[in-house]
């Protein structure tokens, strides 16, 4: 049975309208209501055990302004009595908050045409049975690839959802989306030595997942012959798109956030118009990329999403704004408000600034071509660990790469035991030597592989 996002959208919009009215009736000067609904089917596999679940997290969050002070409250589920209760609590919360002189008002309606991303009917109609079949095939292909694959965790998730936002300044809008993703994380074993590999695809269009398992298995098996690097040195590093994506996002999401700039927490503060990266780097935040996984008609406070040039040929061009940060500077929001929560329950959080799809302009070389140009260096694949411990304000990071290879004279020599890769990301941005043509769609955007000089590797 297909999920009918259009009718859900209309129902949510009506509920947010009611939320705004109830908040105003409870004494708010201004009010905003956000309601979301996500139908999620999730099939996980742990070697041979299948864990299958389906659910629809949904609820409403109300933001109010009382005597210039902002309050917020939220609840799962939606009925009229509960919406009234949430509106009342938001007013109570506002009363104990201090007056924030930086807060001007909720966003005004913005007239700018924008669209939701691609919605594929095959994803809307994808059944639990089909998801189970995919999972079973994923596991089968992973194990069949090599008999040294001993265990795996993985699964398929289908996400179909919508949200609506209304406020007392006349804004009322909705957005919707549908995605399907598949991933495998597996362990290969030989002589007591364990190595891991992973691969995943998330897509708006129904994708072919047949390579996911074999790719993950191949990554794991390749690492079984790993040898220690046995030294510490500064050397060029070739980062596969998948390996650098999250680090890249963690840093730029912080540095381009206008609120961080205003509060002195961004490395890019005062650097608009200055060189912050190598000439070959151009990065946009594209909330309208049709295939982008963060693309929506509107952001989390109802402002249309758009495309914003961040870094053009190495020069910093703009920061990203939600309405709070924008009104502080008498600017327009760039449509970058997001409600960050776990459990697919965005209604539980107030908006903050966040990137949508970070898109790095590709170069000409394939990944193999990038490696072939390195005289001596390290090739980092799959994923790195410890990105969450990096400091995105200063750019200092130290990550562990469990899947790296030694490169000499353009050739991959052998896999390496886990390596520590450390340095300063913002310095490294200026030392990017080459960019690949292999654009990869990730949750954080669309990123090619890149070559960086000047990082320290040890292992």
């Amino acid at each position: 049975m297909a999920v009918d996002l259009n009718s859900l959208e209309n129902k949510l919009a009506a509920l947010t309208d009611l939320g705004v009215k109830k908040a105003l009736a409870n004494g708010a000067e201004e009010a905003e209501a956000f309601a979301s609904y996500a139908d999620i089917t999730s099939i996980n596999i742990k070697t041979a055990i299948i864990e299958a679940s389906q659910g629809a997290p949904s609820g409403i969050g109300i933001r109010v302004v009382v005597d210039g002070k902002v309050g917020f409250s939220a609840t799962s589920g939606i009925d009229e009595a509960q919406i009234g209760q949430v509106a009342k609590e938001a007013v109570v919360v506002a009363r104990i908050r201090p007056l924030d002189p930086a807060f001007k008002h909720l966003p005004d309606p913005v007239k700018r045409s924008s669209k939701d991303g691609i919605i594929d009917d095959r994803v809307l109609e994808f059944s639990e049975k089909e998801a189970l079949n995919e999972v079973s095939m994923l596991a089968k292909r992973t194990f069949e690839y090599d008999k040294r694959i001993k265990s795996l965790w993985g699964g398929v998730e289908v996400w179909r959802g919508t949200f609506a936002v209304s406020n007392s300044r006349g804004l009322m809008s909705c957005a919707k989306g549908a995605y399907i993703g598949a991933g495998i994380y597996c362990v290969a074993m030989k002589n007591g030595k364990q190595k891991t590999g992973s691969e995943d695809i998330t897509s708006r269009k129904l994708a072919d997942f047949s390579e996911v398992g074999t790719k993950a298995a191949d990554r794991a098996v390749k690492m079984l012959e790993a040898k220690p690097l046995g030294k510490s040195l500064k050397t060029p590093t070739v980062w596969e798109n998948k390996a650098i994506g999250y680090l890249f996002w963690n840093m730029l999401n912080t540095a381009t956030n206008a609120q961080n700039v205003q509060e002195g927490k961004s490395y890019f503060k005062g650097k608009i118009g200055s060189k912050v990266a190598s000439n070959i780097i151009t990065v946009v935040d594209d909330g309208q990329l049709p295939e982008g996984l963060s693309t929506q008609k509107i952001d989390a406070e109802g402002v249309p999403m758009r495309k914003t040039m961040l870094i053009e040929k190495g020069v910093l061009k703009s920061f990203l704004y939600d309405s709070y940060a924008a009104l502080r500077e008498d600017k327009e929001s760039t449509g970058n408000a997001k409600r960050p929560t776990t459990s697919n329950e965005p209604f539980l959080a107030t908006p903050t600034v966040s990137t949508t799809n970070l898109v790095v302009e590709p170069g000409r070389k394939t990944l193999e071509g990038l490696v072939a140009e390195v005289d001596e260096g390290i090739f980092i694949t799959d994923f790195v660990m410890g990105v969450g411990h990096a400091n995105p304000i200063t750019g200092e990071f130290s990550v562990v790469a469990p899947s790296a290879f030694l490169v000499e004279k353009g050739e991959i020599i052998h896999p390496l035991e886990p390596l520590t890769v450390a340095g300063n990301f913002y310095h490294a941005l200026k030392e990017v030597q080459a960019i690949g043509c292999d654009m990869r769609l990730l949750e954080i955007g669309k990123i090619p592989s890149i070559v960086i000089e000047g990082l320290t590797v040890s292992g």
Binding site: A48, Q54, S136, K150, W153, S343, E345
Partner: protein, 484 residues
């Protein structure tokens, strides 16, 4: 679309859950578990004495877990009408049926005796539910002001209060009827002091399944917590970095608790074991650590003595056992849900937990701690002789292969049994199995503490409140300063 009028509690709620069980069974499920969660969350964040954020959230919903032909299915709904529950039952059964066609190893619900336990709750004097946000905001401000009073060169302060409380109901095909009220309150203060380019942190907090009266005790009052945070940050301004290399170490209660949970406990979770991911797979009965190392995972450590997170039943309606996972160094048990227990021919240890109704229960820890020993703290410091006294944690990382890196919040250099000077940047690295082999002794006192901020995350389910702790452990050859 929704009808979330919350039915009256008590017998009406059980009726509704029973209806879900009946619907699941009618559709062919061999066993059905239905649970209802109503959890409220309050959070106050104060930065530099300004109330930065206040959260008041509530999650109310129902989850249905069904078993069919060796497979399970799960579905949840926030709509509490009979119609919606019947719909969720149908989806849950459909998924279980579809899975059963593919499963290679069959899971079963296991032991099926019915039990009844309604309305279990802790006896507290000041239930957080009955106190307004203003009261809790004042607690945070008192703590922060005290930290400023006792600190030095403070560059920033952060005070946080968080609580979770509510009700959980459970009903299954065996006729088990359970309801209980979880509760957790947490107050914490974090101070950054600065001297030239040096930034140091001091922090203290107190959390547990208790009423707000716990913060009336002078030792745990907002003033005392603030004083400690301020004082400890100030002390670090004059501290030297810990000397890198291997040292004998005395590890404080909460630090060993984090090791017990993060580094060892996860490896004993049977879903990791049965899928072959855990390095402890097939090692039951093996001597992994020294005889002085015993680790326990328990649902209800005596709330009068300890400040764990109180969990009388897991989310599959199983009474939480006290499980000795490491018995005097020997791997004694894994942690089980109903499913993993049947796969490994054991019985559930009551470790199936879900962070909220959106998720099926999976194997999780409850209160994980090292058992206490026979030393007094003075004796332990004397036995430490020369080495590092490492206290609490300020974050870190544990890997699936048992390696870890943890930063102690503070520490002291001890020379010939005497505490000499404070340390900063006390980072412990190593492998948990080596660490366990090197445990030489444990002190008599036992501290268990839980946390609202920074619960456990697994399989997308975060933050799940847990408790952790232990005595002081005396450990030889601990690698310090492994961080770059």
């Amino acid at each position: 679309m929704w009808n979330t009028k919350i039915p009256k509690r008590g017998s009406n709620m059980f009726e509704l859950l029973q209806y879900g069980v009946k619907k699941g069974e009618e559709l062919g499920a061999e066993f059905v578990e239905v649970r209802f969660d109503d959890l409220s969350i309050r959070e106050i964040l104060v930065e530099n004495k300004v109330v930065k954020d206040v959260k008041t959230l509530r999650r109310v919903g129902i989850g249905l877990h069904t078993y069919y032909g060796g497979a399970t299915g799960y579905s949840s709904t926030v709509d509490l009408s009979k119609k919606a529950i019947a719909g969720a039952a149908a989806r849950s059964v459909n998924i279980a049926k579809a899975s059963s066609a593919m499963v290679k190893v069959k899971v079963e619900p296991g032991e099926l005796t019915a039990s009844e336990s309604k309305g279990q709750k802790l006896d507290v004097k000041k239930h957080p539910r009955d106190f307004p946000l203003q009261f809790k905001k004042d607690m945070v401000l008192r703590a922060v002001e005290s930290s400023e009073e006792h600190g030095k060169n403070i560059s920033s302060t952060t005070g946080k209060y968080g609580e979770i409380y509510g009700e959980k109901f459970f009903f299954n095909s065996a006729g088990t009827e359970i309801s209980w009220s979880p509760m957790l309150s947490h107050l914490t203060v974090f101070v950054v002091s600065k001297k030239a380019d040096l930034l140091v942190i001091g922090a203290d907090g107190f959390a547990g399944s208790f009423g707000l009266e716990a913060f009336d005790v002078s030792e745990h009052s907002p003033e005392a917590l603030g004083e400690n945070a301020g004082k400890w940050a100030a002390e670090k301004l004059e501290a030297k970095p810990a000397p890198p290399g291997k040292h004998r170490a005395l590890c404080e209660n909460r630090l060993v608790g984090v090791l017990a949970h993060e580094s060892f406990g996860h490896l004993t979770e049977a879903d990791f074991v049965v899928s072959g991911m855990s390095p402890l797979t097939g090692k039951l009965g093996n001597q992994l650590g020294s005889e002085k190392a015993t680790i326990i995972d328990e649902g209800t450590p005596d709330p009068k003595k300890y400040n764990g997170f109180w969990i009388p039943f897991d989310d599959q309606g199983v009474k939480t056992n006290k499980v000795v996972i490491l018995d005097q160094g020997k791997l004694a048990s894994y942690l089980h849900s109903r499913e993993t227990a049947t796969l490994m021919k054991g019985s559930s240890t009551g470790n199936a937990r879900a962070v909220n109704y959106n998720f099926p229960p999976i194997v999780r820890m409850r209160n994980t701690y090292f058992a206490s020993g026979d030393l007094s703290l003075e004796e332990a410091i004397e036995l430490l002789d020369t080495g590092i006294y490492a206290i609490r944690t300020a974050g870190g990382q544990a890997n699936a292969d048992g390696t870890f890196m943890f930063k102690a919040l503070r520490g002291y250099y001890v020379e010939r049994g005497e505490i000499k000077h404070p340390l900063r940047e006390v980072t412990l690295t190593g492998s948990i199995l080596t660490f366990l082999q090197n445990v030489e002794g444990a002190t008599r006192e036992l501290i268990i503490q839980s946390s609202y901020f920074g619960g456990c995350g697994k399989g997308g389910q975060f933050p799940l409140p847990c408790g952790l702790g232990g005595p002081h452990l005396l450990v030889r050859d601990v690698q310090f300063g492994g961080e770059k």
